[in-house]
Amino acid sequence: MLFAAPAMLLFATFVLLPLGASVYYAFTYWDGFSAPRWAGFANFARALTDPTFLMSFVHVVLYILATLVFEVSFGLFMAVLLNSDRRGFSLMRGMFFAPVVLSMSAAGVLWKFVLDYRTGLLNSTLRSVGLGDWAQPWLAQPETALLFICIVSGWKYAGFYMVIFFAALRRIPRNLYEAAKLDGANGTQQFFAITLPMLKQNVIVCILLAVTGGFAGFDLFFTMTNGQPFGATEVPATWIIKQAFDQNQIGYGVALTVVLTVVVSVISIAYLKISERGHVTRY
């Protein structure tokens, strides 16, 4: 107990205490300037009727679904495609992985320039090839803003998932594929009969990372649109920041954070429980 005390003290100071304080502030009206006033469950009741907050969960679910396509699936596709020792493939893997090392905020700012309505690379290219009518304010339209955030997120993170899958692919014994070939299995059959089942654990981990990472998504949304236009790209984290700091409603912002924490925890635990059932050996 004595040996564990320093670690426990640090844990209590930097984790438990802030956590407890957060829960307390969630039950208060607090603007950050004056003293907090007890609010009971008012902040939570408001959260459940706050249309922007509720819609932010819809947006984040859409974003997560998109990340499963643009990041996890595409990362898996690229890993399989580039799973070769042939000349130049390692360079291609490196290039595909390169955006991962860029900070998310930098990527957001970079792509904001690319997608700028007046001077952005995309619209300038369209105009230069005589397709000026196709030039759109991509990040100012509710129909396109979220889609472009998903695409940028895919560009940024597909390489990350590719590396995870690539490492796992290298551990699959080659003789399984050789045996499949002898049995007459083509590439697609080998993928579904060998590769995918052998990568099951990695897929589970990648999906969990995409789901929890999606709920925590903030920097790309903040730098590219900050929830605009009209809340079409609002996710819980951007809305929480706006409520807590832009509008000085810290008590309400903390309550939203508590709700988000509960939602993410429930989803993560449920997902882990369900995925565990699939690979636990029962005696």
Binding site: D31, F33, S34, T49, Y117, N226, P229, F230, Q247, N248
Partner: protein
């Protein structure tokens, strides 16, 4: 040991001197990050430090949005509070006083005729510099928070002149849009730029009592008068007045777009003048006009939207006497002449006559002095969440996302969910 005595004594004296020097440091936090006004402020501070060798001014500067969102609150809550902090008049000052951050300047203002050195208008009830009759904000600038800046060259190209009525204004926008120009550039990704203007338009249309009652959440927004106000924005949208990327563009890039001739007009505040040197090409000619009268019978038909910005001494300031000394220097006539010549409208009496003001500052001063009233920006006068919700409703209407009626229904529902602020 003897050999060590002298260096130790020197070190002790040096430490003592450093401590003394630190004790005279005035921590001054604000959001004036650049432009001609920052140059002027730095020059005034240099003059003050030269005249008062025992006092140094340590500027802690944040970008405007960062300052108002996190920068100020973090410092006010810290163990090392700023001695002086920048603040907007009205609701923010009242909040600071209630939270115990603002120093009562009654006594200081009574000495050396400091209070009388300012224009009488800054000490009126509606000015937002005082709470319960006590002065807390040292006025530094009069800000027009919205006026319509226009490119003189493009206006001349189309034989246009500043409009005298709202209908003329709409027609002017239509002419420009049909000619392929972007009539108005607005950077509204944070809602306040258009929101401030919409607040002024609504104040010029809605009866004053109904306007105040709605922002105080004592009456609904969904009334024919507010609908008329938002319909004016819908009308502008329908003639193609606004830039297509309005909701994705920030306030600063929008200003840059105006200076780069990417649009003909730009509704924003008086601070545009101090950015001209940074953003405009040599010879760029621009002017400004107020939002044209909409209903001539309305008591605020010829009003302007504006506020006072200034400085507050922290109640727990380490150096209150030195802070006040600096503020007196900063608001002295000589310093304010420099300040006004950087493109700011000084609240100090006589400065406007003595300073060599540029054409734009003179025009804005004339506009303010001829106005039938000054409408405060909603986010300076009323609870920020209410003002922000109104701003978003205005953005819905101006971008054609919702009809005026639907935007107001959304606004009332949002405020109902929010509860009384």
């Amino acid at each position: 040991m003897q050999a060590l005595k002298f260096p130790l004594a020197v070190s002790a004296v040096a430490i003592l001197m450093c401590t003394t020097a630190l004790a005279q440091e005035v921590r001054f936090t604000h959001s004036i990050t650049g432009g001609a006004s920052r140059v002027a402020l730095d020059a005034i501070i240099a003059d003050f430090e030269a005249a008062n060798p025992g006092i140094t001014i340590n500027q802690i500067v944040f970008d405007d949005d960062q300052y108002s969102n996190q920068g100020l609150i973090t410092q006010l809550k810290s163990n090392e509070v700023p001695d002086i902090f920048f603040e907007w008049a009205g609701y923010p000052v009242q909040r600071d006083v209630e939270a115990g951050y603002a120093y009562d300047l009654t006594e200081a203002m009574a000495t050396d005729g400091w209070k009388e050195s300012f224009s009488d208008a800054v000490w009126t009830d509606g000015a937002g510099t005082m709470v319960d009759g006590k002065p807390y904000l040292v006025p530094l600038s009069l800000d027009l928070t919205n006026t319509i800046w226009y490119n003189k060259k493009i206006f001349a190209e189309y034989n246009l002149t500043p409009p005298a009525t709202w209908d003329e204004f709409v027609a002017l926008n239509k002419t420009l849009a049909e000619a392929g120009e972007t009539p108005i550039v607005e950077g509204n990704n944070e809602f306040w730029p258009l929101g401030n203007w919409a607040g002024h338009i609504a104040a010029m249309v809605v009866p004053p009592d109904a306007y105040i009652a709605a922002f105080k959440q004592e009456a609904p927004f969904n009334t024919p008068e507010f609908e008329k106000a938002l319909n004016l924005l819908v009308g502008l949208h329908e003639v193609g007045a606004f830039n297509k990327d309005m909701q994705a563009l920030g306030a600063d890039p929008a200003m840059a777009t105006f200076f780069q001739e990417g649009a003909v007009m730009h509704p924003i505040g008086s601070w545009l003048v101090s950015e001209t040197a940074n953003l405009a090409e040599e010879g760029f000619e621009y002017g400004q006009f107020n939002t044209p009268p909409i209903d001539p019978a309305h008591p605020l038909a010829n009003s302007v939207i504006g506020t006072i910005t200034g400085l507050v001494v922290h109640k727990d300031a380490q150096q209150p006497a030195e802070a006040i000394k600096f503020l007196k220097f900063l608001t002295s006539e000589a310093s304010q002449v420099k300040w006004a010549e950087s493109g700011q409208m000084s609240p100090v009496q006589g400065v406007s006559e003595k300073a060599k003001l540029d054409e734009q500052t003179q025009a804005m001063l004339a506009l303010m002095s001829n106005a039938s009233g000054i409408v405060p920006p909603p986010d300076n006068k009323y609870p920020v969440p209410v003002a922000e919700a109104f701003y978003q409703a205005a953005a819905y209407a101006a971008s054609g996302e919702k009809s005026a009626k639907d935007a107001l229904v959304w606004l009332d529902e949002t405020l109902a969910a929010m509860g009384k602020q």
